[in-house]
Symmetry: D3
Subunit: 134 residues, 6 copies
């Protein structure tokens, strides 16, 4: 039963709108994979990060994506999400150079392996966008 709440409330709608505003196609495709197994986690991921947090005023979206790319590069445990957020950082106005600078800077705070893996993720995202003609 717990996996059966409707994905239709105000927070969900606000989250979806926020995802679209941020170019979050890659997040939505990632959620698609777990939609059948856990519609609840898919719904919660739209509601809380996007509906509650990333849609808050007080910090511009470009800064929010810089923060997320930095954190995921430093943590190093979520390459799929890192690629999604590099893509979204570009969508909200970061340049490729800025993203590369954030990743290089993580060598200082999380070590070179984290930065090198982050740059490899950026390489994949930039190449995929070039192929898509973005």
């Amino acid at each position: 039963m717990s996996d059966a709440q409707p994905a239709s409330g105000e927070r969900y709608r606000r989250g979806l709108a926020q995802l679209e505003k941020m170019g979050g196609e890659s997040v939505q495709s990632m959620l698609g994979n777990i939609q059948d197994l856990s519609p609840d986690l898919a719904r919660i991921t739209v509601e809380f990060p996007y509906g509650d947090i990333l849609s808050r005023p007080g910090l511009d979206l470009r800064s929010r994506q810089i923060a997320t790319v930095a954190a995921l590069t430093a943590l190093g445990n979520a390459p799929v999400q890192l690629r999604a957020h590099i893509d979204m950082a570009l969508a909200v106005g970061c340049t490729e150079e800025e993203i590369k600078e954030v990743i290089i800077q993580m060598a200082v705070y999380a070590g070179f392996p984290a930065a090198l893996n982050g740059m490899a993720a950026a390489l994949e995202v930039f190449s995929a966008r070039e192929k898509r003609g973005v």
Copy 2:
């Protein structure tokens, strides 16, 4: 012998200048503690993070501090450095509200304990600045 290179090269001077530009008194005080034990690590910390990386063009200092506050909040293993960088983030133009937003956002990517500990660090920095009359 290895702990005896002079702290006087171009990278060191550039690093010191960068630290001053970024309001890095708290970093310098932290380095003071280890200066006697390892003059080399103190020197390298000025040269590489500040002289080589944070002084690079390509990303504004406000964005650089947002990236660092995000990463250190998410990693959660360096409360002293997190406080130093919150202080420096304010010095280069971030508002207290923006820093709080970055920290709240980390609840999404690194969990609530990381965000709550980050906010406790911000609380200490903001209070100390109030006492100093900044």
Copy 3:
């Protein structure tokens, strides 16, 4: 402005009720510390973890606390929250022996330092409860 939403919605009330059911005095005291600085993070911490997640059906509260004590012992970055959740685990029916077993087991998955630090946290909680006469 972003730090000014009223802490009065349905999720907040459900979260508070859940916190009381789980004996979460230590969480509420921890939130008290950041209430003045970020009423929003205090409110969100009641709404999301307690109102949205821990109040879900599908898993009993004792198992939920075992999961949290295990995760916080393994991550090792949040001693305050670990102590709060050991306290709550006892409040929802775990025995001291069960908690010690969970912590010892983490030596296997996260190493001995994590387990030893977890046991030190348990020691503090058990002693504090003895003094309170619980």
Copy 4:
């Protein structure tokens, strides 16, 4: 010489028996991969986690697996072992719904990327079991 102790002592036998009781085929297959390179690590993995720790009284096997699935989801550095322990959690009586709840709960303590990666691991395990007709 150090890699040549016989895998035949009491702890090893108790560990193997524990592994069988817990449905640990996936662990044994994982150990098979390193058996030739390091028979010692393979033997120690049976002896210590299974022979010494998981066979201890004081906590039921279902709770032990909930603790391990929580910790490995939160740490996020061992997807192969996470899948093995999700499989074993089902073997000792956890339901799929309970495992999904543990994983969703980790969004609170370790962030959404950890929970989403954990759910992807669960998806693989549940699908593989369906194919095997379990």
Copy 5:
């Protein structure tokens, strides 16, 4: 009952002998703190790390301590154990300079905050030894 196995077997004796050989007074004092709460974890910590692993042939004790100081500096989640192992590294023949080099090197692999915190731990150990007249 689970916390009542005698600390008297062959592995325990071998572990204690290994601890003495490695100058592990600081580990024994750390274990003293949890001895009353969990005699089992205290016993297991002697038996497994010291009796089973660190007493293995195949790697000299100096190299073993370098490995542990490196890992604990990089992980950054166990300052008490890091100090104990810096002390033991000196006891088995590492020089202070070698330990400082290991810690500085961790700036590359785990970032500067980890290295700076590691050096602060070394500073405490070296000072304490000087006071003890070692």
Copy 6:
């Protein structure tokens, strides 16, 4: 512009020489992948870790590689770099047995999943070397 400094200074030359001395073909091949995207990060990775740190006197190369293999096994977030450093450890005189001992020891400090993943990395490196006839 920031990605355009020439890779020709003294630190770069010293770093390249150090990489060759340490048998760092696998690092150079890894850097090749990101060379086009970020010539700066490729250059910095030669200059700082190899030119500044690993070429320091005060610790022999064999001990330096033991420290790095230990740290990367414990952190568990950089399998590509771990394999490169296992390869370099063999190149500077570590035996396969010594590397296996370092990895087994990490079960104590970072848990069994970290050690098992480290051993899987060693297995890949040892097999690849056998094929290359090293």
